[in-house]
């Protein structure tokens, strides 16, 4: 049994290394910044721009990560890309579901009392939604820095709520923070794994 546990630990460590490239952080940071821009300028087109980079995740993984880290296909028992996709889907669905409810309820003339609460503590509400998304993504993928983003989300939105800043500002700062984290991880990753010269088996 302990041998299986050792292999599971090895698999987890390897899977985590594969996601130390910072790409997911860059995408999430970009999406959050686009959402903040939508709030600031009241232009829904920014939401579309925010989701667009998701189409770049796989191509970027192939272009940046695979040549350096090596091509690997994790089996379903020890990780698998399905976890990341599941995490993205959950975050996306949660965001759409919550924002959809907001759209239909907040604009109503006699909203329920919890909606009144949302109107009064909008920034905090966004922070809670973000924190729950990051927490669930951290649980599913095992990527620990998602828990740090969860705490950052709560910290910035609570601070923004207390200081009564403009609604988009804590969200923008969260997005920028995550983006910077992604850049740092990407630089570290490219230094740790220099680009291999094509297929080098047998050379």
């Amino acid at each position: 049994m302990s041998q299986n546990q050792d292999l599971k630990r090895l698999a987890k460590k390897t899977y985590m290394s594969y996601h130390q490239d910072g790409l997911v952080d860059l995408l999430i940071g970009w999406m959050i910044i686009a959402f903040a821009a939508m709030m600031a300028f009241d232009q829904s087109a920014f939401t579309f721009l925010g989701w667009l980079p998701i189409t770049l995740y796989v191509p970027l993984k192939k272009r940046i990560t695979a040549p350096r880290f090596g091509y690997v296909k994790f089996d379903s028992e020890h990780g698998g890309q399905g976890r990341m996709v599941t995490a993205f889907l959950i975050m996306g669905l949660l965001s759409f579901f919550v924002l959809g409810i907001l759209f239909f309820l907040v604009t109503g003339e006699s909203p329920p009392s919890f909606v009144q609460w949302i109107r009064e503590y909008t920034i905090l509400f966004y922070g809670l939604v973000g924190a729950i998304s990051f927490m669930m993504s951290g649980l599913i993928t095992g990527i620990r820095r998602f828990y740090a983003y969860m705490l950052l989300s709560l910290f910035l939105t609570i601070t923004g709520q207390i200081l009564e800043t403009r609604e988009f500002l804590p969200i923008l700062l969260l997005g920028v923070g995550i983006l910077i984290s992604g850049i740092i991880h990407l630089v570290r990753f490219t230094r740790k794994y220099p680009n291999a010269e094509g297929d080098i088996y047998g050379s």
Partner: protein, 110 residues
């Protein structure tokens, strides 16, 4: 040889250890291959920390034993050498683990 196929010799369990798997280098390679569906040479190079000159011959040895399959494929127009653990390789690892357990039990009990 499976762990229960001994002829009573005290050192027989040690004789049963598969030397192809037992080498630390190859054991490391097989450990990583057992946790993935497939991987290329660069992945094994990075994860095992072996040199190219060390990894290649050990992979060939494992391939000759039938424990891994090595196929050259094009993935997104990039030539990749994909390495996979074969069913025979998985069985061999399982038997190796059982044999090692017998050896360790004998050593600890003695």
């Amino acid at each position: 040889m499976a762990p229960n196929e001994t002829d009573g010799e005290p050192l027989q369990p040690i004789e049963n250890i598969d030397a192809t798997i037992h080498a630390p280098t190859r054991l490391k390679i097989l450990a990583y291959l057992s946790i993935v569906e497939s991987a290329d040479f660069t992945f094994l190079l990075n994860q095992t920390g072996l040199t190219r000159g060390n990894l290649s011959p050990n992979l060939r040895k494992l391939e000759e034993a039938g424990y891994v399959s090595i196929t050259k494929e094009f993935v997104d127009r990039v030539p990749r050498t994909l390495i996979r653990l074969t069913d025979e390789g998985r069985k061999a690892i399982q038997i190796y683990r059982e044999n090692m357990q017998v050896v360790l039990n004998k050593l600890l009990n003695n």
